[in-house]
Symmetry: C2
Subunit: 275 residues, 2 copies
């Protein structure tokens, strides 16, 4: 089902490229355009059938009905004013950034037909080479409308993500950032900190427990530094709670309080099993 | 190749049961006996071809040439004196406990032909129902001889684990416990603490990052409470280092020190990628 005539993806990496592949595979758009500031990436995106044509020049998106901003958050904010001067008046805009409060507040001032989206898909791997047309299948996409979001934009973009294979859930930008600080950003902090303190001489003994616990520490450091700083307020609170719980476990071990230790672990176990 | 005439497994759970299945499948013993204090477990172990015959009574192990102690550490220490009064004089003893310093010191006093072993296999799942004959294939088994360990015991048990499919690495009981505090016990602490602080209302948004990072928090709480208390000294130090690193990351976020944050994350990333 064709939802848009022309869609343009700014930033044809893992997420942007996977959106392009899914758009084309499911015939959701007549034409998919791509913008990347890396020339090589455009050629790769074409070869992966993520885009029909691409350019390093933003002018290519001037006739698009849908523009997907899929570069890192910092770059989205830098490009937004320039993009606003290029697109059609009725063009619908979305971004796929990992934090929403700051970016939504800024982008909805710049673009009248904008809604923030955050597909909870992806992996520690980046780049167009890892893009897949089924990346969003059975995943969850969070949409963050505000009172300024037009109903037709909200409905059309909900439909878009459903067609890309995702389940859709709506929540406010600030709730989104609070939720993500716990379910995504804090686990990344834990993984980065954990692998950092393992003495190199013991890494040869690593088994699946350590590997799974630290898998996401192989994620892109610059991208995650940006995300952490963009969600500073929520994340600092989440880290505090994590450290308080870790200290509680530490004290139970120090005092050989087996009863308390067992209680904390049992609660954690049943919570994890319910996931 | 037959290495032992009769082998007896005390504790036919995930690890004990998997050893039995691998012993029988690879014809490493003529007969495999099992002791479990849960009657049901004996029937299941027979059905899974982990043992030839089993009993709730320890007397069944009296003619064994090899006894594998595979109950939780606390129980091993309780049973050891009784077992010493039952076994043949030249019987070789091993345990498969997750900590080694305390147990090796005690067991090598009780059993003349003893060596500590620790197969780094298993999962968050427990019990004979999850036992597999290939659990140790391509895994690592740590052997912890001391100056009291007879050479023939060390050689025979190395051969045993090689035949069970594992790679074998020797290290002292205290080095073992130091290594394990970092590569296994600390990741469990992190996983238990992490899942504990995720607000229930956000659990529906959990993606693969959170799931992988906390998988091992579904492990048995009593077993892990014992392991943590048995490795108290090393683990407290490992937790301290983990908390210090987490605090460093927190401070970098608080001060919006992107350069420092990026440096910490980049180092973590390259360490994880080398795993």
């Amino acid at each position: 089902m064709v939802l848009f005539n022309q869609a343009a993806i700014v930033g044809t990496g893992l997420i942007g490229g996977s959106i392009g592949m899914a758009l084309k595979k499911n015939h959701i758009c007549r034409k998919v355009l791509g913008v990347s500031f890396h020339k090589k990436s455009i050629g790769l995106a074409k070869r992966k059938k993520a885009i029909d044509c691409g350019s390093q020049n933003l002018q290519i998106i001037k006739d698009a009905d849908l523009v997907i901003l899929a570069t890192p958050v910092e770059q989205i904010l830098k490009l937004a004013p320039q993009i606003a001067g290029i697109i059609k008046k009725d063009c619908i805009m979305i971004d796929v950034g990992s934090t929403k409060e700051g970016i939504v507040a800024k982008l909805e001032k710049i673009f009248p037909n904008y809604i923030g989206t955050h597909p909870l898909a992806g992996s520690e791997k980046r780049g167009i080479l890892n893009a897949r047309d089924d990346l969003f299948k059975n995943s969850l996409c969070l949409l963050t409308p505000t009172r300024n979001t037009a109903v037709f934009v909200r409905k059309k973009i909900e439909e878009l993500w459903l067609h890309l294979g995702a389940r859709v859930f709506f929540l406010s930008p600030d709730k989104h950032d609070e939720a993500l600080s716990f379910i995504s950003h804090l686990p990344h902090i834990a993984a980065f900190a954990l692998i950092s303190v393992i003495p190199g001489k013991f890494l040869n003994f690593a088994s699946s427990g350590l590997k799974d616990t630290t898998r996401i520490a192989a994620s892109d450091n610059e991208l995650w530094a940006d995300i952490f700083l963009n969600n500073q307020k929520n994340l600092l609170r989440a880290i505090d709670e994590f450290q308080a719980k870790t200290s509680l476990i530490k004290q139970a071990i120090k005092k050989k309080n087996k009863k308390l230790l067992n209680k904390i672990l049992a609660e954690a176990k049943s919570k994890r099993e319910a996931l």
